[in-house]
Homo-oligomer: 226 residues x 2
């Protein structure tokens, strides 16, 4: 089997990009991160450049998809993370239909679909949602829709926990969901039951569906300095 | 403290009505079920009549709220379950603002807001949602919005479990959320952590936030013959 070729489309800080790179470096996913494409200047692009990963700012819009298509073809992308703040046009999805397009959204979709970044967390706080988390799903033309591959969820504690703590837990939920999504797409066998992870800092996340969780992801140290 | 006076607004089979009656009969909630108001002929209305509970079909519409207001005033309702297929008008909510209005929705709101009955379960199956459940929330003018009081959630198994099994688990999640919502409104102290309940049939539900779960609710027999 040929090596999986990951391409990461990015707009922002690159936390999940660095996490994907770490999954690959630790052998928690197979494959290779072959390119990072950003739709604007952003820290993620700088990080990739510094790491010597192919990194390119492109002018993607739905009406101007040529540059994205050109780089996806050139990079021979077959696992594509679409965490840019743009919706991928249907024709590009169709043209690269043999690739798996995965989006990570910070909410328990379809709740708070369409909100960007951490806006769903704020909306959840307003409604006092008892549970929050992140969703990795296959990309369809409609924003934040498409079959769900994995969710990482946790019980909220709006009165007791700080926003910073909730953000950190959301990031871990997202990272786990992204890992579980790609682990499934790589063909790892799914566990019968959801998996609950609790770290030394007391944070707890339930991940479903997912393959057997690697030991590293359950260690507090894995999540530091990302 | 005066006895809490529950009024149940209903449209359908009355499963949650019978469950509320059972919570009260077992002393799991304080108060008294003083009336059942239905916006159409339905099994729930017949059940209430047979039990000797005040039961009345009313002609509620947002534009014709008089009959509902008349009965709520007459029954001195202060805990109102709004499981009718009609949205309560803002003026009626304002007129009885000292009462707690609670709605039970079969989904992890705000996901699938606006869908009725078990339609959200079917929508969740289509999107392969890893988690499903039910939400008890305070009623605002907008449908399925308002602060959430409690959610009962469970991990789905779309490939392995029957629709019947998922429906049954959704019903239990809803019953628990309804209990947790009213237990909070009655002033019972909330547990620090979410509570996980597993029954003999293997079904498992996580409830949050909630007071300490009574022993009866954890027994398989409680949920039979409702």
């Amino acid at each position: 089997m040929k090596t999986r070729r990951y391409v990461f489309l990015v707009s922002g800080g690159g936390g999940n990009l660095r996490l994907l790179a770490k999954f690959l470096a630790f052998g928690l996913l197979e494959g290779e991160l072959v390119g990072v494409l950003a739709d604007r200047p952003c820290p993620a692009l700088i990080w990739a450049q510094e790491k010597g990963i192919f990194a390119q700012q492109i002018g993607y819009r739905q009406s101007q998809p040529e540059e994205l298509r050109q780089y996806l073809a050139q990079l021979q992308a077959d696992l594509i993370v679409t965490n840019i703040h743009k919706i991928i046009d249907a024709q590009t999805l169709a043209q690269f239909s043999e690739a798996h397009w995965v989006n990570l959204h910070y909410s328990l979709l379809p709740a708070f679909a369409g909100l960007i970044g951490l806006a769903p967390l704020e909306a959840a706080r307003k409604q006092q949602s008892p549970f929050f988390g992140a969703t990795a799903h296959l990309v369809k033309e409609k924003v934040d829709a498409g079959p769900i591959l994995a969710q990482g969820i946790f019980a909220t504690a709006w009165q007791k926990k700080s926003t910073k703590n909730h953000i950190e837990q959301t990031f871990r939920a997202g990272g786990l969901a992204l890992w579980a999504a790609f682990a499934q797409l790589e063909g790892q066998k799914i566990a019968e039951q959801p998996t609950s992870i609790q770290w030394e800092n007391g944070q707890r996340i339930c991940l479903h569906p997912c393959p057997k969780i690697p030991e590293q992801l359950q260690q507090e140290t894995f999540w530091q300095n990302i």
